[in-house]
């Protein structure tokens, strides 16, 4: 499902510039994300992959200013010529759900257990487009039908009566009902079995195609990322370490971490990465992956910048954060 030759890089739909997020906690200042740069192009699917806790959800949530009160955010998120991080809550409320929508990780908890599914899907229509209730419910039911949940009285049911997979699709329906230009899917496959996860992801992809929207997919499932995304960004310990075209990254990983990550897959032999991930409260200077890297040398004590590497036979440039390149 990968598509080569998407829109040129210098006209992204969403540009994340130098995003750094840290949290003030009782244990100290947690640096969850450091200097993250991403571009999301029109009509593409970008996957952000990495281990649990590498900061990818934090990046996703910070785009819509959904982080908790003790977070300090730096950097810029440019969308439609505006820096989203500088907007007020009221201005953000206009954008959320209408132009950029997000789907959370835990579908059964993210839906209000005592409000019917159809009402929760219809809600953005009432809030943003000020449609009358009856019309919005009708449109909600249509949306559910498109997600193949039109029968069995799902619309009139309450989330506690539905399964996790159904709730996931209800959430997607609510997110997509206003045809936003960007959909952020935060671990849509979490908690679902393999088959269901794939189905959900494919539905997301299909809807995205029909609406000509862009999809930002956050996941730890590497194979899923490869299959439905155009480009992949790999994150480690709060930093982006590699970005490139999905299939290419898979076939020829450049960053040592990406290589090691792929080696962990059962298909490639299940080789675990030695060592443990670095602390986010007291991060080491220099390259974060240095202690566990196979190719380390002294230069790695200094933090490398992202460098572009030309890959003429891949149709797109790769970006890597490593002194090797």
């Amino acid at each position: 499902m990968s598509r080569l030759g998407a829109a040129p890089i210098d006209d992204p739909l969403l540009r994340v510039e130098g995003l750094s997020v840290s949290f003030d906690t009782a244990m100290g200042r947690v640096r969850a994300a450091q200097d993250v740069c991403l571009d999301l192009l029109k009509g593409e699917t970008l996957a952000i992959v990495g281990e649990t806790g590498c900061g990818k959800s934090v990046v996703a949530n910070s785009i819509l200013q959904l982080l908790p009160g003790n977070a300090s955010v730096q950097g810029r998120v440019i969308f439609s010529g505006r820096d989203l991080l500088s907007l007020s809550e009221r201005e953000m409320a206009e954008i959320r759900g209408r132009e950029i929508a997000i789907v959370f990780q835990n579908p059964s908890l993210a839906l209000n257990p005592i409000i019917k599914a159809e009402e929760q899907i219809a809600e953005p229509l009432q809030i943003h487009s000020h449609l009358p209730r009856s019309l919005s419910i009708q449109m909600a039911k249509d949306m559910l039908r498109r997600l193949r949940l039109g029968v069995g009285g799902v619309a009139e049911s309450y989330p506690f009566q539905l399964s996790g997979g159904m709730n996931q699709r209800v959430m997607i329906a609510a997110a997509m009902i206003l045809s936003p230009r960007i959909i952020i899917a935060d671990e849509p496959s979490k908690g679902l079995d393999r088959l269901l996860a794939r189905q959900v992801a494919e539905e997301l992809s299909g809807l995205r195609d029909k609406m000509d929207a862009s999809l930002l997919l956050i996941t730890h499932d590497l194979l899923l990322a490869r299959d439905i995304s155009d480009r992949i960004s790999v994150m480690y310990s709060g930093e982006v370490v590699e970005t490139g075209e999905s299939q290419a990254v898979f076939d020829h990983p450049l960053h040592p971490y990406t290589k090691a990550l792929l080696d962990c897959l059962p298909q490639r032999g299940f080789h675990p990465i030695p060592g443990a991930s670095p602390s986010m409260i007291d991060p080491p200077g220099g390259c974060k992956f240095y202690p566990r890297c196979r190719y380390k040398h002294d230069k790695c004590m200094q933090r490398p910048d992202m460098t572009e590497k030309r890959c003429p036979n891949e149709g797109m440039d790769r970006e890597v954060r490593c002194w090797l390149y």
């Binding site: 819509l64 959904l66 809550e89 009221r90 409320a93 206009e94 954008i95 959320r96 759900g97 209408r98 929508a101 997000i102 959370f104 835990n106 908890l109 993210a110 839906l111 209000n112 257990p113 005592i114 409000i115 809600e123 953005p124 809030i127 943003h128 309450y158 506690f160 009566q161 959430m171 609510a174 997110a175």
Partner: protein
């Protein structure tokens, strides 16, 4: 047994237990059971006393008395007050009207206002204004209701003369009644409000961190829209039962407020009965109050099961 069956059983058992308690207390307390049943300082001839003993069945065994008791209850015969020379049920039903007139509007008003403002306070828990508001209502919550009423009575009626000192009315006109009722009603409402406020605030505080509230925000809902479209109902449900249980407490508070403002409802009735040791009145009042509290709980239970879909679709 089904859930509602079990619940119904509990209500019946509670009622039964309390009525039986009411039977047992005067007969097991120290002193002559006859005095306990009649009240103290009652002037009666000796022959009449003997007659009464027989009539009340005190010379019979307990089980027999128990059955008699239940028969009387079902006939709505709560006994006779020798101090006031009327049947207990008559007096109580007459006075109860006034108590309800005072308590019910105040309770409802207090519940509604308390829930709304408590929800706002829980939602905007960081704001200075709401913190001060919370401190204010906390102070009211901690003050014994009769004490606050005493102070208010002193300041506004005694010193400033703005409101009448005693009773329900002097002339019986609607304006006059309102004038008399204003202070006690305000006190009651304040009392009920503060309790509901604190409970609702706590519930909203708990709910506002939930994921569905975050998702509502992610859909583009703004501030109080999230509160009233989502969090409010979720926060209200678990506390409906709490609020209903509080009804008993608030009703007791009403009695005290009545006493301070010298209103002629159940409060003053009980107070006078206490002073004169008129036990039949005391017991009868206790029974009636219990019935009211249990009914309120029953109502709340029914309301809850209708409102919460999770219970409905069990």
């Amino acid at each position: 047994m089904s859930l509602s069956g079990k619940k119904a059983l509990r209500y019946l058992v509670a009622l039964f237990l309390i009525f039986s308690l009411n039977f047992a207390i005067p007969r097991s307390m120290p002193g002559d059971p006859l005095t306990n049943l009649l009240g103290e300082d009652v002037m009666l001839t000796d022959s009449y006393v003997l007659e009464l003993r027989a009539k009340m069945g005190l010379d019979r065994s307990w089980p027999e008395q128990y059955l008699e008791y239940w028969r009387d209850i079902l006939k709505l015969d709560l006994g006779y007050s020798f101090h006031l020379h009327r049947s207990v049920s008559d007096i109580i039903f007459e006075r109860m009207k006034w108590t309800l007139l005072l308590a019910v509007p105040a309770l409802i008003l207090g519940a509604v206002l308390g829930a709304l403002s408590g929800a706002r306070a829980g939602w905007k828990s960081g704001s200075c204004i709401h913190k001060m508001e919370t401190a204010f209502f906390l102070a009211i919550y901690c003050t014994p209701p009769y004490f606050l009423s005493l102070i208010v009575l002193y300041l506004l009626s005694f010193k400033a003369g703005l409101f009448p000192l005693k009773g329900f009315y002097s002339t019986g006109s609607a304006v006059d009644i309102a004038h008399h009722l204003f202070l006690p009603m305000t006190m009651m409402t304040l009392f009920s409000l503060s309790r509901n406020y604190m409970i609702m605030r706590g519930s909203v505080l708990q709910e506002k961190g939930s994921l569905y509230a975050a998702f509502a925000r992610a859909k583009g809902l703004y501030d109080e829209e999230i509160l009233f479209r989502h969090v409010f109902k979720n926060a209200l449900l678990p506390i409906i039962t709490l609020l209903a249980l509080d009804f008993g407490f608030i009703l007791s508070g009403a009695l005290f407020i009545e006493i301070v403002f010298s209103m002629n409802g159940m409060g003053s009735l009980i107070y006078d009965a206490l002073l004169s040791r008129d036990y039949p009145i005391l017991q009868g009042s206790f029974l009636i109050i219990t019935i009211m509290v249990i009914s309120a709980n029953l109502l709340a239970d029914l309301l809850y099961s209708r409102l919460d879909p999770r219970v409905r679709w069990q």
